[in-house]
Amino acid sequence: MSTTAPQGALQSVPALLARNAAQFGTQTAYREKEFGIWQSWTWKQVSEEVEALALGFLSLGMARGDYVAIIGRNRPALYWAMVAAQSVGAIPVPLYQDAVAEEMAYVLDHCGARFAICGDQEQVDKVIEVQGKVASIEQIIYLDKRGMRKYDHSRMNWLMDVQSEGRAAHQRFEGELKQRRDALTYDSTCVMLYTSGTTGKPKGVVLSNRNIIETSKASSEFDKLRSSDEILAYLPMAWVGDFIFSVGQAYWTGFCVNCPESASTMMTDLREIGPTYYFAPPRIFETMLTSVMIRMEDAGRAKKRLFDKYMAVARRVGPAILDGKPVSALDRAQYALGELLVYGPLKNTLGLSRVRVAYTAGEAIGPEIFEFYRSLGINLKQLYGQTEASVFITQQPDGEVRSDTVGVPSPGVEVRIAENGEVFYRSAGVFVEYYKNAESTASTKDAEGWVATGDAGFFEPGTGHLRIIDRAKDVGKMADGSLFAPKYVENKLKFYPNILEVVVFGNGRDKCTAFINIDLSAVGNWAERNNIAYSSYQELAGHPKVLEMIQGHVEETNASIAQDEMLSGCQVHRFLVLHKELDADDGEMTRTRKVRRRIIEEKFADLIAALYDGSSSVYTETEVTYEDGRKGKIKATLELRDAKVVPSAARLAAQ
């Protein structure tokens, strides 16, 4: 488990920077669009910028082991500030820029940050607001000068001024800087990242140089990344993925990191850059697909037909061609024509023409969405990771890509499934500790270095791919002892655009049932096209045609679940369509739109009882909270429907 450094010199990110400046000196390392033009910096220039900044930090009195908060959108200078802080032996702590002041106060106080480097006035204001509570902050450094003229600058500096000061103090601090940089080892802390803290307070994950460099090395080799690759850095800097992609892998392989002009120009900048290595959460791929489909609906008839014809070809043979499987010459010729007429221009519009490797992770991606991109010839893959693992736990190798698995263990990662189904892993990327939280560290990471993910999953027999089914704490047992994984079923159902939200019940019972929320915009649109009149959400949700459609979706899902030997018990036997949308105001969901199972179970106990007692309809009254805080009651009679279930594939074979 303890790996030794490959070469003595490359034990830290600043050391990698020095190597890149020597090896790739004239290659572009960073680009940022500003004032309408892509400004670029070579590795050599970056190394000079970081050096000046590090000297400036020394002149401000930054000490070894200081925590340096970095708050702002992805900008080259903020990345340099992280590396400069590492150079002087300090620890960068990137924070989410959209966090409100109170959330920031907790993190700043917890790590005892002495320096705060802010992107702009907005972030400075937040830091100043919490400065009363967080006594540790001594210096604020900002990047964007706008609106900063009138602030009290006695303990505040413009980043460029810090750099000039560093350049001026060159003689004075050069020796000290060299000494501090040389003192960095594989075990010194590289970065500290706070987990988002959906449960309880955020925890500071301490990652060492070993974690970051070993992971970056292994994953770069896995996907054969090269120094000519281009990425777009647009995901929050506080997120471990961005640190691995835009710092770890970028410094290890020496590829170019491009920063967009602003959050709203991301799509245009993506097109202009045409990255070769790309990461996006499923939501972004989904939005892109929706906008393509909507625009195709508005296109002329000839174009629409061309698009439909060739997309059908792509769906049929695209993924196989991408995976290098045998495909007939005729199909290949058709696909090539499609590439010329449809796929090529489409990929160009999306900015994905040059993508060699694309990843999605974070949550389940709809199979249709996933297949759409793969059929266009974009090598979109899935990975499974955590902050505590320095991202990579499993990932999909080229040629073995499917939407329902998360791939095989990444190189250097061992994965083990515990008896209760929980996934454990051990690797060189495993975090050092939770900062100032020995208790949590101990409960997450055992003495041998195995880390609990909190997710339940299993290895698919035959392929050796890991499949994640649910959060471990939500997984239960059915009455007959088979596995109950509600989220697995819910996600499958939620891939239908007509279904907004699903809650599946069945823990400890003999069969599964479900509450379903329709998506008003999708179903409303469908109703309009099919001449179905309705006057309210409740009426639409209870319309027999709608119920029929939803029943169709449930039965299709059941058929797909039945394919799966382990989870075939989770097929939905009965369901109802709820008369109101589950809402955070009524406490049924969290503010981040996650279902609160316990509360729903209590609130709708009468409905659940009806689902299990076999009645065909149920009358209910539900209290709702309006947006102005008033309360009211909704009365409804709901129809309960039985859905066809399919005997499991395995049981069928056994008969």
Partner: protein
């Protein structure tokens, strides 16, 4: 009334307002028999945000048009930077450092946002028509310089994402912002805004307010604005002129104006016995 010493005053939020930039002296403007503005005098000081308010038809826009040189009053004088201003064409006024936006958006709909804002630089361009048409030598260099200025404005107003979009495709609120950008591109000393927030939703209004304050704060631009939304006016401006039926019925800080009986009568109406 405010202490109107020649060397200016300090606002409630601590900004220092300078000496008189422009002074209207007994302006009367008639259209045939209709008297749009009746004997109005007030001043605008360097660095302040000066609002002109009043009910519909009070003569606010006419007043702004007098300042911008579009209308020429029959009586009275406009003093600018210490000199009496002779009768001028609007473009001559613009060259003196006064830029404006319009109540009904006056952009080139078919042109991109960038090109529209570039037109704001017109008065600063030195190369001639032929040079620009050939786009040769100094003309190309000059355009790059102007483009840089324009890009700074685009950055300032946060409209990078619509730089290349034709104006016709933009929503109303953004068009207003583009108009402001064009006026700012002219690097004015005095900025005239004719109802910058008319027809906007709350969010667009908030954005616009922030930009007006930021412009004043960052560049020290003197701003004169006409606005209907009283909340906005009272929050933004340092001093307010209130007009009604072409007459000035109030002048002072927002608080003074708010408590002025004549103003209250004009806005709320009075019972006629």
């Amino acid at each position: 009334m405010l202490d109107t010493k020649d060397d200016g005053y300090t606002t409630a939020d601590g900004r220092t307002i300078g000496s008189v930039a422009m002074e209207m002296k007994n302006i009367t403007l008639r259209f045939g028999g209709v008297v749009a503005i009746k004997d109005i005098s007030f001043d605008i000081r360097w660095g302040e945000i000066r609002a002109i308010i009043g009910p519909n038809g009070a003569g606010k826009s006419s007043m702004l048009n007098v300042i911008s040189g579009f209308y020429h009053p029959q009586e009275g004088e406009v003093w600018y930077k210490g000199f009496k201003r002779p009768r001028m064409r609007p473009y001559q006024v613009a060259r003196q450092g006064i830029a404006r936006t319009f109540q009904n958006i006056a952009l080139f709909e078919g042109m991109s946002v960038l090109d529209n804002i570039m037109t704001g630089r017109l008065n600063h361009m030195k190369s001639g028509f032929l040079q620009q048409a050939l786009w040769w030598g100094p003309a190309a260099k000059e355009e790059a310089e102007h483009r840089e200025k324009v890009e700074k404005v685009i950055d300032f107003l946060e409209i990078q994402h619509i730089r290349k979009t034709p104006v016709a495709r933009l929503p109303y609120g953004l068009k207003k912002r583009v108009e402001l950008a064009r006026a700012l591109a002219a690097e004015p000393q005095i900025l005239l805004l004719d109802e910058p927030m008319a027809g906007m939703n709350v969010e667009e209004k908030e954005d616009m307010c922030r930009f007006i304050l930021d412009v004043n704060d960052e560049f020290g631009t003197t701003t004169v604005l006409i606005e209907h939304d009283m909340g906005v006016v009272m929050d933004l401006s340092d001093r307010v002129v209130v007009m009604d039926y072409g007459k000035k019925i109030g002048d002072g800080t927002p608080d003074e104006v708010r408590n002025n009986q004549e103003v209250i009568n004009a806005y709320l109406g009075v019972a006629h016995d």
